[in-house]
């Protein structure tokens, strides 16, 4: 395959990403002139100015990673429609994230001037320890995930173009690090939106090419029905047990609202109208992507008809093989989809990890000690940390140590086990307190990691159910034992805290009344 013809669309795409980011970075200059608080708000949440379309696209693009475009459809090739049926549970993501958390997080964030999710945790639970622990967990898990994304993207690039692994890694890896550093959250959000559009476009082109190769939808389906009828069954001849469906509902359906890199988007939108629009647009797009890409996986079984061994023994080779079978220019365009999915996830993870390090740990500690930090230094630290973190992840991706793969394996469920109840109960249960939060984050993360490590699967379910259950028990027990949070803090999150306050005022007035009368 002509590498240049395949490379040209990708190079053009990366150039557009860099350009968009550079143009949008001008907003940081204006914000920086107004002070470091404005810069931080601009750099880490885009000055809360996202519109509905960009909010929807950045939320979907952040969530859709290289596995949504490579690993998932590869599984669909092997399992069939059951895999699409399982992956469609992700249409609840926007409803849960924006519908359940969206407005409450936005209200509280504006009330307390929070720039990161950890700002909210620190304030709600009044705990530096919980905030620092959260920041550390976020940095570790997100960095490992980021490295896995780098590797996945580069391997795909290598498989499709035939160019060396390092060339692909350098091409999109360095670009994403640079444009994230330069553009900050606004750059990441807008480039995410562009990525999401290209993901959809690449998917449509790939589907069209696949249908052409297979002689049309009807021909492929007739072939599958006669040759591989199990692909048309929901349980796929035992390959998709009910326990797997339940596990996936928990892991990628219901608990995704606990992912900090997604939740931070609730702090960044401009108006309630933006949120309402994003809810609808995002659900349309995430459904289209999941159904579309996995349908491509299923249909590719009608084109790539050999055993898995013929494709290198890995389902991860199915989609690259399919793309490589297209004409060079079409392949060049199709590869943009998975690359866009990779870089949009990396950029958001990088910024979330960087904000945890710079703002939630370093700047907070300086502030706590009363040490002054100039506006220029804040700018330098924010961009410098993003750049260094990105470069370190990039370098580690060249030859990732095995421990990275282990951490990555634990990352998704680990973050959910750590933060699900901290977010949910913190925002919707007044009695949630720091003891409960600390117990939940420690108990949930630890139990999940151990269950993963030892392969504990109750009733064949994914270890996430252990993490979530232990985290909940720890949270409830801790909150019962711990000291309740101050009413002034609770007023930021609970309407009923105001009613409690009114009742207290009423009691005081009633007590004070006779005295006043006596004095009179």
């Amino acid at each position: 395959m002509s590498s240049l013809a395949v490379l040209a669309p990708v190079l053009l795409f990366m150039a557009v990403m860099l350009l968009v980011s550079a143009v949008l970075s001008r907003a940081q200059g204006h914000a920086s002139q107004k002070g470091s608080s404005h810069f931080l708000s601009e750099y880490f949440i885009g000055s809360r100015s996202l519109g509905g379309f960009v909010l929807a696209m950045t939320t979907v693009a952040t969530y859709s990673s290289v596995s949504s475009f490579v690993g998932g459809p590869g599984q669909a090739w092997e399992i069939g429609f059951g895999w699409i049926y399982m992956s469609v549970v992700q249409v609840t993501m926007l409803i849960l994230l924006l519908g359940v958390l969206g407005k409450k997080l936005a209200l509280a964030a504006r009330q307390i001037n929070a720039v990161t999710i950890i700002d909210i945790i620190r304030h709600r639970y009044q705990s530096d320890l919980l905030a620092t622990l959260s920041a550390v967990i976020i940095v570790i898990f997100l960095c490992a995930t980021m490295i896995a994304q780098f590797v996945g993207g580069a391997k795909l690039f290598e498989a499709v173009t035939g160019l060396p692994y390092l060339a692909g890694l350098a091409l999109f890896g360095l670009s994403v690090v640079v444009y994230t550093t330069v553009g900050g959250f606004r750059g990441v959000a807008v480039t995410d939106a562009v990525c999401a559009v290209f993901m959809l476009a690449g998917m449509v082109v790939l589907l069209a090419g696949l249908l052409q190769q297979g002689g049309g939808f009807a021909a492929i389906m007739t072939d599958l029905a006669s040759r591989k009828p199990e692909l048309l069954e929901p349980l796929s001849a035992g390959q998709m047990p009910v326990s797997l469906y339940i596990s996936q509902w928990v892991l990628v359906g219901l608990c995704v609202l606990a992912l900090p890199q997604s939740a931070v988007r609730c702090l960044s939108y401009e108006s309630t109208r933006s949120l309402h629009r994003a809810l609808v647009i995002g659900t349309v797009v995430i459904g289209a992507m999941n159904i579309g890409m996995n349908l491509i996986g299923v249909l590719s079984a009608g084109v790539l008809t050999d055993d898995l061994a013929a494709y290198g023994g890995s389902i991860d080779n199915i989609i690259p093989r399919l793309i490589a079978s297209m004409s060079p220019l079409v392949a060049g365009f199709c590869i943009i989809g998975p690359i866009a999915a990779t870089i949009s996830t990396i950029s958001s993870l990088l910024l979330a990890a960087s904000s945890s390090l710079v703002k939630d740990i370093y700047l907070y500690e300086l502030g706590r000690r009363g040490l002054p930090v100039s506006g220029r230094r804040v700018t330098f630290l924010s961009q410098g940390c993003t750049l260094l973190l990105g470069l370190a992840s990039f370098l580690l991706s060249i030859d990732p140590p095995s421990v990275i793969w282990k951490i990555n394996m634990f990352a998704f469920g680990g973050l959910e086990s750590a933060f699900l109840w901290i977010f949910l109960l913190g925002l919707f249960w007044k009695k949630a307190n720091r003891t409960g939060g600390l117990a939940a984050i420690c108990g949930g993360t630890l139990s999940y990691c151990l269950a993963m490590l030892w392969g504990i699967r109750p009733a064949g379910l994914h270890p996430i159910v252990i993490g979530i259950a232990v985290s909940l028990i720890c949270f409830l027990a801790g909150s019962r034992l711990g000291q309740s949070v101050s009413p002034a803090v609770l007023k930021c999150y609970f309407a009923s805290a105001w009613e409690d306050g009114d009742r207290e005022d009423g009691k005081q007035a009633a007590t004070a009344g006779p005295d006043r009368q006596g004095q009179a």
Partner: protein
């Protein structure tokens, strides 16, 4: 709408969203596993796959439109964005003292939050620890 009523509205919307997610789970189960009991094929695709995948997606979109139009309410952020901070003024609960936000200590009379900060200092003891 004041802050307290915005919180009440946000709670209502969260409850409705949770119920919507529950409705999707029920629909998904009936449309997929339920329909798989019937050996029906439409456009070369089994009915359970069409209803369970496309059907669930369309049902979720309808629910989102219903939520956005009928349940969710628009309100502005005026009180919050202006940095008036009417809620978190009690000493020892300083909202987000750190990270470049030079919130004045409660004792100093007001919570600025939006001020200039060529150099920033933060109050000690933002939390109870």
């Amino acid at each position: 709408m004041d802050y307290r009523h915005k919180l009440q509205q946000a709670d209502r919307e969260a409850r409705a969203s949770g119920l919507a997610a529950l409705a999707i789970i029920v629909f998904w189960t009936l449309a997929g596993f339920g329909a798989s009991l019937f050996d029906v094929t439409l456009f070369h695709v089994p009915l359970w796959a069409l209803a369970g995948c496309l059907g669930t997606w369309l049902f979720a979109i309808v629910l989102c439109v219903w939520l956005a139009r009928r349940v969710f309410r628009n309100f502005d952020w005026e009180d919050e964005a202006a940095g008036r901070d009417p809620v978190c003024r009690e000493e020892g609960t300083a909202a987000v003292p750190p990270a470049g936000q030079p919130r004045a200590l409660p004792a100093q009379g007001h919570a600025s939050g939006q001020g200039e900060d060529a150099s920033m200092t933060c109050p000690r003891g933002g939390t109870h620890e």
